[in-house]
């Protein structure tokens, strides 16, 4: 990590600042994000409300800070689920090969045929919206990339001497996979997970914007923007700030992911 790319540094700063906002939300937000104040409806940004207020007089900045909590936790939990599912399917396919590999690889092909957003919406239609459902559904529809990565990695390693040596001393399949094979593929998985957080935040905000994700009154960047549509041309701050927050956060995770990719891939030229 000698010569950190400037863009990567930007990514790290964004990720850290947003994480801090999410963690310390109660100390940063000056107002209660749910406090309705009908006396100050749709106020433009001022010293009292630095990002203005929404149509119920709630402080936009406080809602944004608490929204960071929601958006980031959806991103992390969803990616956690997708990485776990991807690693399990990928290592089974890569290690055992044969019919297990055929079945899993076909399953991946089939899952990739569905427009992910359609699959997510259909599942929400059946299970209902809400933050927990969103996390699980995004996770279970985005594991295929990680599975392919791990499968390819294990496929290229399973005949190597160190695996044979482990087998010779009597290590179980489970131990070989978890202790010897998976750790070798963690670099690319970390890259893919970082980019995955960005993707999950985008998906969650889109769903919440459509009213099918995080449900009001819980604030999320996406569902704050739902209101932006009805206040278009009247209250620019409701449109601008949440969108910028999503854009910058996703950009930050993407840049960090690219930085990590460079880091794990020293052969690639800058």
């Amino acid at each position: 990590m000698k010569n950190l790319n400037r863009l990567t540094v930007f990514g790290i700063i964004v990720v850290v600042v947003m994480a801090a906002a999410a963690l310390f939300a109660p100390f940063i937000a000056e107002h209660d994000p749910g406090a309705i104040e009908l006396g100050s409806v749709l106020m433009p940004p001022s010293a009292e409300h630095i990002m203005g207020t929404d149509s119920l007089g709630r402080d936009l900045f406080s809602r944004m800070v608490y929204g960071a909590r929601i958006s980031l936790s959806v991103g992390f939990v969803a990616v956690g689920i997708s990485v776990i599912a991807g690693v399990i399917f990928g290592s089974l396919a890569g290690y055992y090969g044969g019919w297990i590999d055929s079945v899993i690889s076909r399953f991946i092909d089939i899952m990739l045929c569905f427009p992910t957003f359609f699959l997510i919406l259909a599942t929400i239609a059946v299970l209902g919206p809400g933050i927990w459902n969103i996390m699980v559904i995004i996770g279970l529809t985005s594991w295929m990339g990680v599975a392919r990565l791990i499968r390819a990695e294990i496929l290229s390693l399973r005949e190597r001497e160190f695996v044979e040596a482990a087998r010779a001393v009597g290590a179980s399949d489970f131990r070989i996979i978890t202790r010897h094979l998976i750790p070798n593929g963690l670099g690319p998985v970390l890259v893919s997970a970082t980019l995955g957080v960005a993707g999950a935040i985008l998906t969650e905000s889109g769903l919440s914007f459509l009213g099918l994700g995080v449900q009001p009154p819980v604030p999320s960047w996406g569902n704050i923007l739902t209101e932006a549509k009805s206040t278009l041309g009247i209250a620019w701050w409701i449109t601008v700030f949440p969108g910028l927050a999503i854009l910058i956060t996703v950009l930050g995770y993407n840049l960090l992911g690219e930085g990590l990719r460079e880091h794990f891939n020293p052969h690639r030229k800058q």
């Binding site: 045929c113 699959l119 914007f209």
Partner: protein, 325 residues
Amino acid sequence: MVNYIARRLIGILPVLIGITLITFFVIHLSPGKPTRLQAEMSPKISLEAREKLDKLYGLDKPVHIQYWEWVRRLARFDLGKSFVDDRPVSQKIGERLPVTIAINVLSLALIFLAAVPIGITSAVKEGTAYDRISTVFVFIGFAMPTFWLALLLMNLFGVHLGWLPISGIKSIDFEDYNLLEKFMDLARHLALPVFVSAFVGLAGISRYMRTSMLEVLNKDFIRTARAKGLPENIVIYKHALKNALLPIVTIIGLSIPGLIGGSVIFESIYAIPGMGKLFYDSVMARDYPVIMGVLFIGAILTLIGNLVADVVYAYVDPRIRVSGR
């Protein structure tokens, strides 16, 4: 070539079965029966009527028989009837599909026409200001929430400047227009949706084009071409471009599900009567037959898109069709 296509078509069969299985599985995830929700929404429906509904949709039978009957009806293009207005789902999708396909084809064309030159130029001018600016643009494109972009553009061109209409695909008095006016009207209505749907793909594909071009420019045959004194223009646009375009065909094929999925967002923002809007409305109304139908058709469209991309790739790159996959 025929051989290759035949092999690909046979390979599709299990994927097709898989698509029906997943579609069926998703809709039957619900703890109760799909008709229960419909019945709960209108309290007028009695227990007796409810059982009738169950029978109508075959929900009183075991799951595997339900699946089998659904697939049999599917084979006859019978996707069932909508819960909302009782019209055949295939008909409802049929009237929405052309709009969505038209927008997606237009935006694919736009992506291709813009991304290829951007990619080539930033590869050729690697490391210059142009390359750096286009890199920044690409990263912003990747991170842009489409619905936000749609809102901003709607605000700018629709509300503030008043240049473009903000919803629907044609004006109310569309029928009275002459041909040119009709064309202009459609173009004005479609400008924003097509741009929004192309934006994200544009970023991705110009990036791939750049990488692909850089790779080709490092190949030996390019050095040979330069060494024998060919003008740089011919080296780039004749020798390098042809080879650099190959992977882009596949990438465009792979971007189809994203485009179709994205149609839900911009179609519901711009109130475009396409498949995405239909899907959104049916999700809101828990109209399961339509949801199932659109999910299935969306996957089939992706499958066809990928198949076309593969066949085109095999056509332009003989190595593929000879060596198999």
